[in-house]
Symmetry: none
Subunit: 410 residues, 2 copies
């Protein structure tokens, strides 16, 4: 079955608010095999909403509308749905009494406006709301299930879980979804696609999505089956081949970040790490220490921006700085070796480069980054040229440095 | 004029991703008097997208579609729009060459797939993308302006601001919105609202929105008028009183981040800064160095996670660590003074605390953070107790440390 979600409320059309209810609903719906194919946000605008609902009931089997069930003038959901499905709104005495009681229990008189919340569509099923005044409604119209749910997240969750989910699960019996994620780094999106398109294109099930995130690429495989086992089997068949094709570009088969994976390897091997970074400005340290428990393997980081601090904190010889320049293979190696020596860490990592926007030259352009890794008396080195602005260059440089550690420890 | 925004990409229909491009676009469109009346998210599904676009061009004057312009099989935007507006896709040699050059400059061969990104709709205006491979397109169809923009936020912003905004502003001449933003830190959202609600509540124009962001609170005042001057006047009347009421809690009257403001003050006073941080793990350094030109005032940072590194890199006496513990007023002061001494910076900043989730005790609970600032032989100190998870505690601690510098330099 397919579903669409309509979030109603003018505040959701401002520059500062996003609809997060739909994330919760998507998770819940997916878990019972229902796919969300469309999400819309519309303001408290009767005309727009009516137009939209008329289209929605034609194209989707399930339409979930959230919000607009409040007591004020601009809460128009029920009025509009009443026109679309051609059913009258009638006052439900039982609900009115419950709302009055809620106010009474708090020592308040019910404002007259709240009586609107006791209006229900003739022929609809009332979805009880034990934590708020507005109940939800479920009505069928020309083969489409329309669910009207309250907007406040807490109320939405209770109403959905108690009054909607079991019935939806029955409706969608016989379909289940399973998703496998791969995260890869060290190659471009198009390069990755070239490597795996021959594998996934013949399949409609599972569906494959490729997504470029910051410094990494995510591959999502979603399979459909009559049971979770069947859906999982559908995915595994393709996933195994994709994983093999991508080899060690894949750093995670789940939700783990690159810094978490690096942390696992360091703990597994009982190694420690220290970082001396220049162009990344503390980003590598910050990412590594964002992982709880990182104090087990992360000893320290230095952000040596000035030349003096490269000499003082990472032990770079002044002459080397003068001869090779701060952004050089030699200084990257010196940072890695120096911080390893100073701290006694198993691995020393050094990063130097030009993040821009200024400071570049013909021989050393913005985006040039040297990364070095010192371990057991051997220091390895990589040279990168990243495109984009300062933030992007710093991010990709941090990604390259972390990935260098990962590849060393695989 | 009215606009609708369509975000394209199956990943935006999962339970973990939201479309944030539309927030940026809404802000930009509002600033030139265009209101967003509808937002939709649709997957990489040709049939759904086609259906949706056909409806969109009928109901809206401006349709902005984001995403689906990438090089892979599942990027279907141009193909579908081509059917809807009945215009062929043709290869634009000039764009192809630019894409090839981008790869070439990074020492890579262009994968064959990327040639798709040089396909344009016959009769469309090409929206140059100086920061990525996919250009945007602008095409008119039956009185509707259809704008196709790349999905990566960085690319979207450049393409929109340079190639779309000026022309849209001309189209919508006659209504103008003006927005004034205040950013404040060091107080809670409800406290701030208490201070300014009596000022803004009597006004419908400007509209006031209060938004709690990470470690700070943003106040948006948006006024409407026939000209920008009129809209600006409507805002200024209320904004001046709000700014006065909030006093030095306000750190920015525009888009500047706290780290930018700190940077301005340091440059203005020709001072330098060095940071020794523990619980924030490099976050303070990373934020400071995210600002272009920060090498003018930021000398270095050390992330001293291990006790040995606190001794070695920040000069903390071993006895002090033993007596006071790593998380203490004394160690925070020692870090600030030590890093200042070691580097010769005008200001030394020290941060130590417990970010959690483990490591807390009754007397030193998770969320306890000490911040110290050393300047001219005087060291000041603050003790904070932050709530929330590891990420939140680290962020608030970095915010407190940066704000301590700002308040010192005001």
């Amino acid at each position: 079955m397919n579903a669409e979600i309509i979030a109603i409320g003018s505040e959701l059309l401002t520059a500062t608010r996003v609809d997060t209810n739909s994330l919760y609903l998507t998770e819940q719906l997916n878990s019972i095999g229902i796919e969300v194919e469309l999400k819309t946000v519309v303001g408290d605008n009767e005309h727009r909403l009516e137009q939209l609902l008329r289209e929605a009931v034609k194209r989707s089997e399930i339409v979930i509308a959230t919000g607009g069930l409040g007591p004020t003038e601009d809460d128009v959901t029920k009025k509009v749905v009443s026109r679309v499905v051609k059913k009258q709104l009638v006052l439900e005495q039982r609900i009115l009494e419950r709302i009055q009681a809620r106010f009474h229990n708090r020592g308040l008189e019910m404002p007259a406006n709240n009586a609107r919340q006791a209006l229900v569509l003739l022929g609809s099923k009332i979805l009880e709301n034990p934590v708020g005044t507005a109940p939800g409604l479920w009505i069928e119209y020309e083969g489409c299930h329309i669910l009207l749910l309250p907007g406040p997240p807490r109320e939405l969750k209770v109403v959905f879980e108690e009054a909607c989910k079991p019935r939806l699960a029955e409706l969608s019996a016989g379909t289940r979804l399973f998703t496998q994620v791969f995260k890869a780094t060290g190659l471009t999106e198009s390069k990755l696609d070239e490597m795996i398109a021959p594998i996934y294109t013949p399949y409609k099930n599972p569906a494959t999505t490729i997504l470029a995130a910051a410094g990494e690429i995510h591959v999502h495989l979603t399979g459909k089956g009559k049971s979770e086992e069947e859906a999982r089997k559908v995915v595994t068949e393709v996933a195994d081949r994709i994983e093999f094709a991508l080899g060690d570009f894949v750093f995670s088969r789940g939700e783990e970040t690159l810094e978490q994976i690096v942390g696992y390897y360091l703990m597994m091997r009982q190694m420690t790490l220290a970082v001396a970074e220049s162009c990344t400005g503390g980003l590598v340290s910050q990412r590594l220490t964002s992982v709880p428990g990182s104090s087990n393997y992360f000893l320290c980081g230095v952000t040596c921006y000035s030349n003096a601090s490269k000499i003082e904190l990472a032990g770079i010889p002044p002459l080397l700085l003068e001869m090779s320049g701060a952004v050089s293979l030699e200084v990257a190696k010196g940072l890695a070796e120096g911080i390893r020596m100073k701290t006694g860490a198993t691995i020393g990592l050094g990063i130097t480069g030009i993040a821009g926007p200024s400071g570049g030259s013909v021989s050393k352009p913005v985006g040039l980054v040297h990364v070095a890794l010192a371990l057991d008396g051997v220091t390895e080195h990589q040279e990168h040229r990243f495109g984009g602005d300062r933030d992007r260059i710093r991010l990709w440089a941090s990604q390259a440095a972390l990935d260098m550690v990962r590849r060393k420890l695989i």
